[in-house]
Every structure is written in C-alpha cells, then in structure tokens.
C-alpha cells in the first residue's frame, strides 16, 4: 500500500511552500486586508508564472497536464499561506466547469487564457441567504440573455468571466458570461474577510452562452463542486495546520506562573485535539485526492467526507488559535484573525457544512442500500 503522495509531489509542495513563504508572508495578506485592493495582483502574476493556474489543464490547451494530486499539493500551500488571490474561483471552479462541460471551442477559447492567467474565472450560483436549491434559480436565461441577480459571487468584481447557474428552457443549466459586458452591474460587498472579494452581480439582458448540456446544470454543478470540495479541503487543512503551528509557537514561548503556557494540560490537550481534528481531516483529504485523481466512483462520498472534516478542523484550529494567544489573539496587530476570517470564508463559500453533511450522509445511505 502506498497511501501517500509521491516524492515528486512532495517536492512540488515544498517548492510551493518556499515560494509562498517568500512572496506571501502574512504581512502581504495584511496589506490586502487593510487596503481597498480586492486581491494581491503581484502575487497572482507570480502564481501564474509558477504555472499553478495551468496545472491540471491538458497540454493541448497550453496547460501543464499535471494530475490532481499535484494540484492538491499546491492547494494545501495556497491555503496555508492564506494567499489573497482568486485561485479557488478561477482554478477549482471555473476551470473545472470548463474541463467538465466545455465544448472543444469553449475549451480552446478559455483554457489557454486561464492557464496563462489572461483570464480570471469564477462561478456564480448563490442567490442570497440560505443554501441554494438547484431546482429553481431565480436568474433566468432566455434567447441568449441572462436576467437576475447573483449574490454573493466570490471574486465577482475581479473575474473576467463567470460560469453562471441559471434557469433556462430546460431547467437549471450553466452559462458562460463575459463579466466585462456593460449590461452587468457589480456591487462589491462588505464581508468579514476582505482578503477574498465578494460581489453582487445583476444581469440585465446580459449575453451568455450555454456551458454543457441544456438542463444538465444541477448535475454538472454537483460534479464541479465535488472536485472543488477536495481542493478546498486541502486549502483548509493547509490553513488549519498553519493556525495550529502559530498557536504552538506562541504557547511554547509565552510564560505564566514561571513556565511555558504550553506545559499546562488545558492548552496541551486543546492543541492535541486540534491536531487530532487536523489529522483525521488530512487522512480524509488524502482519500479525496485519491478518488479525485483516479476518478473513482467513491469520489462523491470521499469529497464530502474530506470537505466536512476539513471545514471543522480549520474552524477549530482558527478559533482556538485565538484562544491560545489570549488577549493578544484578539488584537488587530496579531495575525490570528486572518485564519479565523478565512476559516468561515472557506466554510461557507462552497456551500455550508450543513449542506455537505447532508450530501455526505445521503450518499453514504444510498451506498448502503446498494
């Protein structure tokens, strides 16, 4: 059995780690948090130059043709660095939707530009508060035009195009929309994590083209989300581990009552619990990575398992990192809040934990009936 990433994959991860440690220390995340910039443009350009946006795009579309295991390694490091870039939107969502459902023409148009970083893509599904119900989107498509409002759209103010889920003639379908079209009004939203931008997009007779089979939007969306769930989960465990490391470092070097606070059982056991949550999530992520990379039939269960446990682990590590930092943990000056903000962004962005728990258990129950 070799249930582990290969040496080459680990090497790629190490390189990503060093690159991001150099280009995206937390001071860079702070810059974006404290500015009006929606994302870190220089970092994004560097990331493009590293080829990460091209990773799983086939060579025929000017990609690197790497596998998903490699992309998982990159995702873990992107997560760990809290990089303020639209990586998940463009790579895990838009690129995946095109790979899955694009016609050859669509792929030829979009994929080389996505690979080269000339286009940033995103996916617009949510329509306000509560979980989306794929049966009925309020945004409609008729005669080549989209009408209605999507809110929030992650990176909706940054992205050049979006994959939009809407209600067409044959029900839910996906559409490709050029976001530079003048018919679209965009409102940047104030959110708890300004290092990842979110917007309200309003379409008024906005031209759009079908992506994938007409009426197959719900099924296609589910597939895209399953793939993305594994990649999001790697970002989450990367960030969770970084938060645990930060807590550990602080606790080791902070003294009270004449000893390192890391020697008190209350904190030791809290960190042990953080590690346990992280380690279980990591193992589930590896399972997800395996299923994603092999296209195994277990992917829907594996993806949901990875997603649910990584979401929990990251939130636990982020919130307890603040607690372990004590008073310093809730100062703006310390970095603890970056992880806390991002933990909720990643948790809610791809559909909430409740949604994924429901997906998980539906799928498991269905599999036990077979």
């Amino acid at each position: 059995m070799n249930f582990e990433f290969s040496d080459n994959q680990k090497l790629l991860k190490d390189q990503a780690n060093k690159f991001l440690a150099d280009k995206c220390p937390l001071t860079e995340v702070r810059k974006i948090l404290e500015s009006d910039e929606p994302y870190h443009k220089e970092l994004w350009n560097e990331v493009v130059n590293m080829g990460w946006t091209a990773a799983v795009i086939p060579e025929e579309y000017d990609g690197l043709g790497l596998g998903y295991l490699e992309l998982c390694m990159i995702a873990e490091e992107v997560g760990s660095s809290l990089a303020p870039i639209p990586f998940s939107s463009s790579v895990y969502l838009a690129t995946e939707a095109l790979l899955l459902s694009g016609t050859i023409e669509q792929k030829e148009h979009y994929l080389p530009k996505l690979a080269a970083g000339e286009l940033i893509g995103t996916l617009a599904d949510a329509e306000g508060y509560g979980s989306i119900s794929p049966e009925g989107f309020a945004v409609t498509f008729k005669d080549g035009k989209l009408n209605g409002e999507k809110m929030p759209v992650i990176d909706g103010d940054i992205a050049d195009f979006a994959v939009v889920a809407a209600n067409g003639d044959k029900g839910t379908s996906l559409y490709l929309v050029d976001l530079s079209d003048a018919s679209i009004s965009k409102e940047v939203l104030s959110t708890l994590d300004p290092t990842r931008s979110q917007a309200r997009l309003t379409f008024s007779d906005t031209p759009a083209q079908l992506l994938g089979k007409d009426g197959a939007g719900a099924a296609d969306l589910e597939k895209v989300f399953d793939n993305a769930a594994v990649l999001f989960a790697f970002e989450q465990i990367g960030a969770a581990e970084a938060a645990l490391d930060a807590a550990k470092d602080y606790a080791m070097n902070r003294y009270a009552f004449g000893r390192s606070i890391a020697s008190f059982q209350a904190l030791k056991h809290k960190m042990a619990d953080m590690f346990v949550a992280l380690e279980l999530a990591r193992s589930n992520c590896y399972y997800g990575a395996w299923a994603l990379s092999t296209g195994d039939a277990e992917l829907p269960i594996a993806a949901a398992t990875a997603r649910v446990s990584a979401t929990k682990a990251m939130y636990q590590c982020a919130k307890e990192n603040i607690q372990i930092h004590g008073g310093m943990g809730f100062t703006w000056e310390f970095d603890c809040h970056f992880f806390y903000r991002r933990s909720k962004l990643l948790a809610d962005n791809l559909g909430s934990q409740a949604l994924w728990e429901e997906k998980l258990i539906s799928r498991v129950v269905a599999s036990t009936a077979a």
């Binding site: 599904d125 949510a126 306000g128 508060y129 509560g130 979980s131 989306i132 119900s133 049966e135 809110m151 929030p152 992650i154 939203l189 104030s190 959110t191 708890l192 994590d193 979110q198 602080y250 080791m252 070097n253 902070r254 003294y255 009270a256 009552f257 004449g258 000893r259 390192s260 008190f264 209350a266 904190l267 939130y315 919130k319 603040i322 607690q323 004590g326 008073g327 310093m328 943990g329 809730f330 100062t331 703006w332 000056e333 603890c336 809040h337 806390y340 909720k344 962004l345 948790a347 809610d348 962005n349 559909g351 909430s352 934990q353 409740a354 949604l355 728990e357 429901e358």
Partner: protein, 412 residues
C-alpha cells in the same frame, strides 16, 4: 418560590423608579441607546459627568458605599435592582465603574486619612474618572507576574513599564496602578500599589485596535513617570493584597447578555432555507436550538438564583463564573452557526444587507474576546474547580522563587 420582590425590595424599586422618572427619560424601545446622537467621546464623557453629578446631588452616586463616605450602604440586591431599573432609562453607563466600584473601596480599606480626604469626595461627586492599570503584555492570567518597575527617588517613585487592556485610559483623570518595587523577592511579595495622575508627564496612552476593527482598550506606557509617595496605597511590598481588595470589589455581573441569543437564531432559522426547506424544519438545526435554548434558560435561571441569594443577603460566589464561561462560548458557536445557515452569504457584514443588521457577524468577531477578557475559559474552569468544587491548585513552578529568577518566554 416566586419571582416577586420582597416588600422591602419593592419599596426600594419604587423609590429608584420615582427618582429616575424625575431626572431621566424612560426608553420607549428597549433597543434605544443614550448615545444614539452623541457625536464624540468628549461629548459622551461630558454627558456622563453631568449625569453622575445629578446622581450625586440626589444621593444615588455611590449607593453601595458606606454612609460615612456619602454612600447609601446598599445591599447587593439593591444594586441589582438599581441596575435593572436604570437600564430602562436613557442614561450613560460605565464611565465611573472603576472609580466608584473598585478604586473607592480600595481607598477606604488601604488609604490613610489624608488619602481618603483627597480622593473619596471627588470620586463621590464624580468630578474625576478613574481607570485600572493592572494587566501587562507579559502578565494576563498570571497577574502577579507584572513587570512595570517602581523605584524610590527621594519622596517620589519613578515608574517605567507598560500596562495593557485599560478601558478609558485616554479620558481618565486618575489610575490605580500595580508595580514591581522589588524584583528580588517572590513575585507576590515585591509589588507596590499607587494612585497615578493620568496627566503626568511620561504617561502615554495608545488605543488597541481589536479584530473587530474597533478599540475599546488601551495600552498605557510609563516612561520615568513620577508619583509622590503620598499616592502610595498600602505598604511598600504589600501591593498584591491591595490589588486583591480591588479585584474583590469587581462587580458581579448578573445582567443578561444582549444580542444574538437563541430567540434571534430561531427567527433567523425561520427565514433562511437549508437543504431545500426552512432551516427551522431541519432536525439538525432544531437539535442545536434545543441545546442552546437549554443553556439560555439555564443561564437565565442561574442568574435568578444568584439574585435570590443576594436578596437573602448572601454574597454571590464563584458559581457566577458559569455565566461568562458558558455564555461566551455559546455566543461564538451560535454566531458561527447563524452564519452557516446564511450559507454563502454568511460573510456579508453590511448592515443594510445582512439579517439582524449584521449582528451575528459582529458577534462572530467580538465573541473570541468574550472567552478571554476578564478571565479566559481556562482560568474560569480553574476558578470553578478550585473555589466551587474545592479541588487543589496545581503546584506552582515559580513558588517562592525570586521574581527575577522566574523563567520567562520570548512572547509578549
């Protein structure tokens, strides 16, 4: 068993209400706030001082103080009744809490006649606002581990060091300050306690920005600040005992927490969908709501039991730690859950867009401080274990060790 006042309590409540009706405006809506139209902190401080003078002129400024110092010798339950009633009116709160609640009683216990004469009348008449300078970057849960240095220089003391988490430092007139006067003896033995004029040269106040973006606290830096020896409270080296007196007078909060409790969460759950139906119909949501409702109810009736104990003349004990211990974690968990119910829109904190004007998002960012400030979850569990259950303290690694030999870390 009943929820009613005793006849004495009812009489006191009526007296309070009559007085408040005569000098203040009753809220027409519980969400109303006295500072709704207040433009600046300076203005707020002025309003507060004016209100406090009204209280003073009518004998309500320091109601728990002994009569000899101008107080009404109010009981615990009378203070609770005052608070309950006062919260119904549009009047400022909190500015004089440190002075009247903590500094005053400490001066009564440790001050000499001259000090009592100097500080207590201006406290009672509320000309002066006080702040508390205890915590330091290196000493939070371990308060006796403070480092700020006091050195005798003729009739004065020279203070150098840094304090943190000081509310109102920038508009305070006086501060109560614990310093280390002798680092060569055990940590509890080398402390000395002072009253410090906050306008002294060398005192610098810097606001601390919190993760919410707001700043309710300050750092206070002392650089060669001079304090005359006649502002020392208690003996040199006896600062720990003086500080304990101050802390024992820290107000027992029996008030209800505001904002984002389980009933608001139920409202939210009725109005958002999850897995294709209203969240309130989802079994998992109902299960969580049941749990939080039990905590909400348990905390409420624990408060009622505390108030009853005070009504019987008992002094509330460490059981009161439960309120913060349970309440703070519950706030955080509920806020997180509320945002989860909002799903992808959960992160939006625009007051115009977010449900309940972004209250849950605000609580999500604010609540981590609830688990830390005023005693961390971990410290409170120690308090419950030791003071309520009588379990032994941990052996202290620094017991009896001279302060300057106690191991320290590199992190502040």
């Amino acid at each position: 068993m009943d929820f009613n006042d005793t006849p004495e309590e009812a009489a006191f409540r009526a007296e309070v209400r009559t007085f408040l009706d005569s000098v203040a405006t009753r809220k027409s809506d519980p969400q109303d706030s006295w500072d709704k139209n207040v433009k600046s902190e300076t203005e707020a401080v002025e309003i507060a001082k004016k209100w406090q003078r009204t209280l003073h002129d009518n004998g309500w400024a320091c109601l728990h103080w002994p009569k000899e110092y101008g107080g009404r010798a109010a009981s615990q339950i009378e203070r609770v009744i005052w608070d309950q009633e006062e919260s119904q009116y549009l009047v400022p709160k909190g500015f004089f809490m440190i002075g009247l609640g903590m500094a005053g009683p400490t001066i009564m216990t440790y001050g000499n006649d001259e000090q009592k004469k100097k500080y207590l009348p201006s406290l009672a008449s509320s000309e002066k606002i006080w702040c508390q300078l205890f915590s330091e970057p290196v000493a939070g849960s371990d308060l006796a581990g403070i480092r700020t240095k006091s050195e005798k220089d003729g009739d004065d003391w020279i203070i150098n060091g840094q304090k943190i988490w000081t509310s109102g430092a920038h508009y305070s007139d006086w501060g109560i300050l614990v310093t280390r006067s002798d680092p060569t003896v055990a940590k509890h033995k080398g402390l000395t306690y002072f009253v410090v004029d906050m306008k002294s040269p060398g005192v610098e106040v810097r606001p601390i920005k919190q993760i919410t973006g707001g700043s309710g606290f300050n750092e206070v830096f002392f650089t060669d600040v001079r304090i005359p020896d006649n502002q020392r409270l208690g003996a040199v080296g006896d600062g720990w005992n003086v500080a304990l007196t101050t802390l024992m007078n820290e107000r027992v909060a029996v008030g209800e927490r505001k904002g984002g409790d389980v009933l608001e969460l139920i409202e939210l759950a009725k109005n958002v969908n999850i897995n294709g139906k209203p969240a309130i119909e989802d079994g998992a949501v109902r299960n969580k709501l049941a749990k939080w409702y039990c905590e909400f109810s348990g905390l409420k009736f624990t408060r009622f039991r505390s108030i009853s104990a005070m009504s019987r003349g008992e002094v509330p004990g460490a059981e009161n730690s439960i309120g913060k211990l349970v309440g703070a974690a519950k706030s955080q968990d509920m806020a997180e859950f509320a945002m989860m119910l909002m799903d992808r829109a959960g992160m939006i904190n625009d007051k115009e867009i977010a449900p309940f004007a972004g209250m849950f998002q605000q609580t999500f960012m604010q609540s981590p401080s609830g688990r830390i400030a005023g005693g961390t979850d971990e410290v409170l569990r120690n308090v419950v274990a030791e003071r309520v259950l009588g379990l032994p303290q941990e052996p202290r690694a620094d017991k009896g060790m001279p302060y300057n030999e106690i191991p320290t870390g590199t992190m502040k």
